[in-house]
C-alpha cells in the first residue's frame, strides 16, 4: 500500500515541496532582516523594558515611538500572511478532495478494492500516509510563520491574537489543514466526483472558519475587562503582550456605554470649552474608558482549543468516510 500511495501522490508531493521551498525562500530572508532590525532599532530593548507586566505606565512614550516605527517599516510585509491564510484551504482542495473522489470518478476503486487488500486497510493506509504528510507540512508552515511573525507580533499592531494573525500561525493552521483535507475526503465519499467535493471543501471550510472566528473564539473563555480614567490615565495594557482587544468604549458612572468603539483621554487638569472638565458635558462626570479583552497569555490555550476543535472534526469526518467507503461499489 505504501508504494501505491507514494506512486499516486508523488507528483503532489513534488508540487508541495516546491511550494514550501519558494515560501521559505521568501520568508527566511525577510524574517532574518526583521529580526536584525528588531534588535538594531532598539525594539528588543523596548520590549524588554516593558517586560511582561499586565499594565505599563502610559508615559513610556519614546518606546511607543520605536514600536510604531518598526511597524511602519515592516507592516507591508505582513500582507504576505494572506498566503498563509489560504494555504490550508489549498491543501484541502487539491489534496483532500480528490483523494477518494478521483478514484470513484474514474472507477479505479473497483480496480484497487478488488485486489487482495481490504478497503479498510486501503483507507487507513491512504488517509494515514497522506494525513501524516499533511501534518508535517502544516507544522512547517504553522510554526515557521510563528517564527516569522514573532517580531511583528510584539510591537502591538500585529498582535498574535489579532484575528488574521492568529489564523495564520502556530497550531491552528495544522488543525485547519487536517480539517480541510478530511472534509474533502468525506465529501468525496458522498458525491463521488472531484468538483463537487472541492466545492464542499470551499464552502464548508470557509463557513466553519468564519463562524468559529466570529462567534466562538471570543468566548472560549470569559473575556476580561480593563478600565481607566478619562482624565489623566497613568497605565495602559502592555502592547507587547499581544492582548486581543474585543471592544473598547467609554462608560458613564452607572456603567452604561456612552460611546462605543472609541476612547477619550485627556491630561490631568485639562479643561474643555467653557471650563468644563474634559468630555464632561458629553459623557457625564465619572465616565471611564472601558476595554474588553482576552489576555495575551491565553494565546496558546486558545490556539489549542481552536486547533483541537478542528482536529476532532477532522477525525470524525475521516471515521465517517471510512464507514461510507464500506458501502460504495
Amino acid at each position: 500500500m505504501i508504494w501505491l500511495v507514494w506512486r499516486q501522490h508523488r507528483k503532489q508531493a513534488l508540487f508541495v515541496s516546491i511550494g514550501l521551498v519558494l515560501i521559505a525562500a521568501l520568508m527566511i530572508p525577510t524574517g532574518l532582516t526583521m529580526r536584525s532590525a528588531f534588535v538594531d532599532n532598539g525594539v528588543a530593548a523596548c520590549v524588554r523594558l516593558l517586560g511582561d507586566a499586565e499594565l505599563v505606565p502610559i508615559n513610556i512614550r519614546s518606546c511607543q515611538g520605536v514600536l510604531d516605527d518598526f511597524n511602519n517599516q515592516f507592516q507591508s510585509l505582513a500582507t504576505v500572511g494572506v498566503l498563509f491564510f489560504v494555504l490550508p484551504l489549498l491543501v484541502g482542495l487539491f489534496l483532500g478532495a480528490p483523494l477518494v473522489a478521483r478514484e470513484l470518478e474514474h472507477g479505479t476503486h473497483r480496480l484497487v478494492w478488488t485486489q487482495s487488500v481490504s478497503r479498510r486497510h486501503w483507507a487507513l493506509a491512504k488517509f494515514g500516509l497522506v494525513g501524516a504528510a499533511t501534518l508535517a507540512v502544516a507544522c512547517v508552515y504553522g510554526l515557521g510563520m510563528s517564527w516569522w511573525m514573532a517580531p511583528l507580533s510584539q510591537t502591538g499592531q500585529f498582535s498574535r491574537f489579532n484575528v488574521y494573525v492568529f489564523d495564520m500561525q502556530g497550531l491552528v493552521p495544522i488543525g485547519y489543514t487536517l480539517f480541510a483535507v478530511a472534509l474533502g475526503v468525506f465529501a468525496g465519499t458522498i458525491w463521488h466526483k472531484v468538483l463537487p467535493a472541492m466545492a464542499v471543501v470551499l464552502v464548508g471550510f470557509l463557513g466553519l472558519r468564519f463562524a468559529l472566528t466570529i462567534l466562538a473564539r471570543p468566548n472560549y473563555l470569559p473575556a476580561e475587562t480593563f478600565s481607566y480614567p478619562v482624565q489623566g490615565p497613568t497605565h495602559a495594557l502592555n502592547p507587547t503582550l499581544g492582548n486581543w482587544v474585543l471592544s473598547v468604549g467609554v462608560r458613564n458612572s452607572s456603567g452604561e456605554l456612552v460611546q462605543a468603539n472609541g476612547t477619550v483621554e485627556c491630561p490631568v487638569g485639562a479643561q474643555g470649552p467653557g471650563g468644563q472638565p474634559c468630555g464632561g458635558g458629553l459623557l457625564g462626570p465619572d465616565a471611564y474608558n472601558w476595554q474588553l479583552y482576552q489576555p495575551g497569555s491565553r494565546y496558546w490555550l486558545f490556539q489549542g482549543i481552536e486547533s483541537g476543535i478542528f482536529i476532532v472534526l477532522a477525525a470524525l469526518l475521516l471515521f465517517l468516510a471510512i464507514r461510507r467507503i464500506r458501502h460504495i461499489a
Partner: protein, 296 residues
C-alpha cells in the same frame, strides 16, 4: 459438482428500486459463462455482489463456498475486470504490475509481463495513452496475474472495435482453458458470446430469465411454425417463450421436453441469439408498462 459461484434468492436494492431480485443460479467450475442482458438489467450489480464490492439486501451469494463481502481470502481468488476497464491512467503497465505485486499475496508477474510482451504493449508508457483495446488487455493481464479461480469481467469488450473484441475474447478463452479458471463475462453483444461461452445467464429487469449450459438450452428450445394457434397446450411443449401471430400462421419459440409430434407444427433449431432475444423481450414490455402506469 464444484460451484464457482452460487446465489440463492439474491437481491440488491437501491432505495426502492430492486437492481437485482430473486437471483438464484449455480455456476459450475471450469465453465465460461456469459451474463447477458440490456443496460440496467442488473449485470454489474450481480458481478459487484460476487466480487464483494456490494453487500446483498436479500438472499446469499457464495464464491468458492464463501461469502465474498469484506472477505479478502475470497478476494484473492477472484480476478475482476470492472466496466470500462478502469486503470490508473498515469501509471505505466509495468507500474500496474508492480502495484498488483504489492496488493496481492499470490501474484504471477511473469504471466502478466509475458502476455503484454506478446501483445506488444509498451511497458513504460502511461496506460492512459494506450488504445482502448490495449487497455482492456492490460486490465485482463492484471486480473489473470492473480491466478484467480474465478474471473469476473464486466462488459470488457463493449468499447472495443470488432477486431480487438475478437482478439480479446479469444485470448480470454485460451487463458481460462490454460489456468482452469471459471469465467463469468457480462455483455450485451450477442454474437461474440456465441463463440466464447458454454454457459448462459440471461438477466432482464433485475431478474434471471434463463440459465444453463448453451448446449442444453439449445437442445431444449425449438422454433415451431404452424397454423394460427390459440392458447391450448401443444404436447411436448413446456412453455411458450415468444409467439408471433399472423392471419393464418403462428411462430413460436418454445421450451420443449420431447419432440413435438403433431404434424401441424414444423420444428426448427434455435440459435443462441434467437434464444437470448426471445427471453429478453419477454420481461421488457412488462416493466415498461408498469413504469409508465399504462395498461399493457
Amino acid at each position: 459438482m464444484d460451484l464457482a459461484l452460487e446465489t440463492d434468492q439474491l437481491g440488491k436494492r437501491y432505495g426502492k428500486r430492486w437492481a437485482l431480485r430473486d437471483c438464484s443460479l449455480h455456476l459450475p467450475t471450469g465453465c465460461v459463462a456469459a451474463l447477458v442482458g440490456p443496460n440496467g438489467a442488473g449485470k454489474s450489480t450481480l458481478l459487484h455482489l460476487a466480487v464483494g464490492l456490494l453487500r446483498s439486501d436479500a438472499g446469499t451469494v457464495r464464491v468458492l463456498g464463501e461469502s465474498p463481502y469484506g472477505n479478502t481470502a475470497v478476494l484473492s481468488e477472484i480476478g475482476f475486470v470492472a466496466q470500462d476497464t478502469p486503470l490508473y491512467r498515469d501509471f505505466t503497465a509495468a507500474e500496474l504490475i508492480t502495484m498488483g505485486a504489492r496488493l496481492n499475496r499470490r501474484w504471477d508477474a511473469a504471466l502478466a509481463r509475458n502476455r503484454l510482451a506478446q501483445l506488444g504493449i509498451p511497458p513504460g508508457q502511461p496506460v492512459g495513452r494506450l488504445s482502448g483495446g490495449q487497455r482492456a488487455q492490460v486490465a485482463l493481464a492484471l486480473a489473470l496475474a492473480k491466478r484467480p479461480r474465478l474471473l469476473l469481467l464486466d462488459e470488457p469488450v463493449a468499447s472495443l472495435d470488432p477486431l480487438a473484441r475478437n482478439n480479446f475474447l479469444r485470448l480470454l478463452v485460451d487463458s481460462a482453458a490454460e489456468t482452469g479458471a471459471t469465467v463469468l463475462l457480462s455483455s450485451h453483444l450477442l454474437a461474440d458470446l456465441e463463440r466464447a461461452c458454454d454457459y448462459l445467464i440471461v438477466l432482464n429487469a433485475a431478474r434471471v430469465r434463463l440459465v444453463g449450459t448453451v448446449n442444453e438450452l439449445i437442445a431444449e428450445h425449438r422454433h415451431l411454425v404452424g397454423p394460427r394457434h390459440g392458447h391450448h397446450p401443444i404436447p411436448g411443449v413446456t412453455a411458450v417463450v415468444q409467439a408471433d401471430h399472423t392471419e393464418r400462421q403462428t411462430t413460436l419459440l418454445a421450451r420443449i421436453h420431447k419432440p413435438v409430434a403433431d404434424p401441424a407444427w414444423t420444428m426448427r433449431e434455435v440459435t443462441l441469439e434467437d434464444l437470448i432475444l426471445a427471453y429478453l423481450s419477454e420481461g421488457d414490455t412488462q416493466a415498461g408498462h408498469t413504469e409508465w402506469e399504462v395498461s399493457a
